[in-house]
């Protein structure tokens, strides 16, 4: 024999072990690459996240669980209420999401077992996940406002989830006689779309001014200050003088109870019996978040601002309206931006890496009239365990802008809707 080294038995075992281990490692790596991610909720957050996950790593098995076959978008639903837009323009299907490789399960998720890592859907099927993303949006807290339950909402619509409720409010406005009073009850923070009630008041005022000019609109508000307040108020003075009256919290605007049999809203200071009552009740994260154990005492989900992972349960991430995102408002833009950051974090975590702290943007447009838009913007980043405003950035449209500026913001608002819905569903 030459003195070439012959492997000893011990060394052979060593090599075998190495191969076995590397096989095990590679199997794990493959499992990670083909890891199962379930997203519950196919709205602005969930559908965006499912698509982004698949785009970032096509090997992932991504399942989107969504209870409705068609999504009806809230942004621009105030236009539908004011009669300027059809509900069809708000509706989107999931065909494109599915053709991009996401498995779409058209059922409600009914149970989440975070220790077995499974999701049960309405027909009893059980789906397993490595990571779960919850994007169920909001639930209305029926009975948080005495007198206001689901049955009452059939008479005093909230229209805070778009669809039949949106159309009901529109029909009530159409049926109202000129000279009637419309009331909007606004809850305290936090709730979906902070400027939404004031955009609604503006567009209803636009409808009344054009079609029923002797009518009035009253906003009964559980807050003193609100989003884009100065811009809204100065526009109301200019466009709808005398038509809109707002009663703030300190003026006694907080609605304490309602009586749907008489269309009455009761505050500490009096009763308002009106022709049309739009009651926006307090809200909380979609129920499935609570079932998963991801909500805290507030009814919302606290998250890690880098990964959007739940602070209550592991391997579960929450995006969109259901989460507490620090300074970020509950908006479709926020939900979409969070979805993409969360997808990047999930892909990185599944590959064994460390997610990079994200930077996020939010822009919310409101229409005060069809050709009059205003906006608020913000830039956010993780700070002290929350998503905090980036100092010096963001803010609202200038107060003294010329009309051409307002027109441009209205045009941008429409383009924004087309672009974002194309990214989410198209």
């Amino acid at each position: 024999m030459d003195n070439k080294h012959r492997p000893t038995r011990r060394e052979l075992i060593g090599v075998a072990a190495t191969v076995a281990m590397s096989l095990a490692v590679s199997r794990r790596a493959i499992a990670q690459a083909g890891a199962r991610v379930i997203v519950i909720g196919g709205g602005f957050g969930g559908a965006s996240c499912a698509r982004a996950l698949k785009q970032l790593n096509p090997l992932l098995q991504v399942t989107l669980v969504e209870q409705n076959p068609t999504f009806t978008a809230c942004p621009f639903s105030n236009d539908v209420i004011a009669g300027d837009r059809s509900i069809k323009q708000q509706q989107f299907g999931y065909e494109k999401v599915a053709s991009g490789g996401v498995t779409v399960v058209a059922q409600a998720a009914t149970k989440v077992d975070t220790s077995a890592r499974t999701v049960t859907v309405a027909d009893g099927s059980v789906l397993a996940y490595d990571r779960l993303v919850l994007a169920p949006g909001i639930d209305l807290r029926f009975n948080a406002l005495p007198g206001y339950d689901e049955a009452a909402s059939e008479k005093m619509p909230h229209a805070w989830k778009a669809g039949e409720q949106t159309l009901l409010l529109r029909r009530q406005l159409e049926a109202m006689e000129d000279g009637g009073v419309v009331a909007i009850a606004v809850p305290a923070n936090p709730y979906r779309c902070p400027p939404g009630p004031y955009e609604r008041a503006s567009l209803i005022a636009h409808y009344l001014k054009t079609k029923k000019p002797r009518s009035k609109l009253i906003i009964l508000d559980a807050k003193d200050a609100f989003s884009k307040q100065h811009l809204f108020e100065s526009a109301w003075k200019e466009l709808y003088p005398g038509l809109i009256e707002r009663v703030s919290l300190s003026q006694g605007g907080k609605v304490a109870s309602v009586d749907s049999s008489t269309n009455t809203l009761v505050t500490d200071f009096g009763k308002h019996t009106v022709q049309v009552a739009n009651v926006i009740p307090p809200q909380r994260a979609g129920r499935i978040a609570e079932i998963a154990g991801a909500t805290d005492k507030s009814g919302w989900c606290s998250i890690d601002p880098v990964t959007f992972e739940s602070k209550q349960v592991s391997n579960v991430h929450i995006i969109g309206d259901a989460c507490i995102a620090g300074g970020m408002p509950k908006s479709a833009f926020s939900a979409n931006a969070q979805a993409k950051a969360c997808a990047a974090a999930v892909v990185t975590l599944l590959a064994g890496g460390t997610p990079t702290p994200p930077k996020l943007i939010n822009t919310c447009y409101s229409l005060v009239a069809p050709d009059y838009g205003i906006s608020v913007a913000g830039v956010y980043q993780p700070k002290n365990g929350l998503l905090a405003d980036t100092e010096g950035a963001g803010g609202v449209s200038p107060l003294d802008a010329p009309h051409e500026f307002r027109e441009r913001e209205a045009a941008y608002a429409r383009s924004w809707f087309d672009t974002i819905t194309a990214e989410v569903f198209g």
């Binding site: 060593g14 090599v15 072990a17 190495t18 281990m21 590397s22 490692v25 590679s26 790596a29 493959i30 990670q32 690459a33 982004a52 785009q55 970032l56 790593n57 096509p58 090997l59 833009f333 979409n336 931006a337 993409k340 950051a341 990047a344 892909v347 990185t348 599944l350 590959a351 064994g352 890496g353 990079t356 994200p358 930077k359 996020l360 943007i361 822009t363 906006s375 913007a377 913000g378 830039v379 980043q381 980036t390 010096g392 950035a393 963001g394 803010g395 449209s397 500026f405 441009r408 913001e409 045009a411 941008y412 429409r414 383009s415 924004w416 087309d418 672009t419 974002i420 194309a422 990214e423």
Partner: protein
């Protein structure tokens, strides 16, 4: 022991392979842009195209929004949230997306 060390060497390589299949992750801030600027924005849109544009051009436009030398409705408010060091990788990433 040797085997273990070997396995540890392999592990990160494979973990990288796992991500190799993934598209490059956008730098912080870049993913939010598509909320307004469509990836397939038609030239006729009210909102300008930014994907596939020259990186230097994107940086200089953003800088001009930030210091107010270029008029805007909303972009000046957003650009103020990004430093030059943050803008450069965002612009490079946007430029690489065709």
């Amino acid at each position: 022991m040797k085997a273990l060390r070997f396995a540890f060497l392999i592990a990160p390589t494979i973990a990288c392979l796992g991500t190799a299949a993934a598209a490059s992750l956008p730098p912080p801030g870049a993913a939010s842009c598509s909320g307004c600027h469509g990836v397939h924005e038609p030239a006729s849109s009210a909102i300008p195209r930014i994907y596939g544009r020259d990186a230097n051009e994107i940086v200089s436009v953003m800088t001009a929004f930030r210091d107010g030398s270029r008029p805007s409705t909303v972009m000046s408010r957003i650009a103020k949230g990004f430093s030059d060091d943050e803008l450069r990788p965002i612009a490079a990433w946007l430029a690489s997306q065709k």
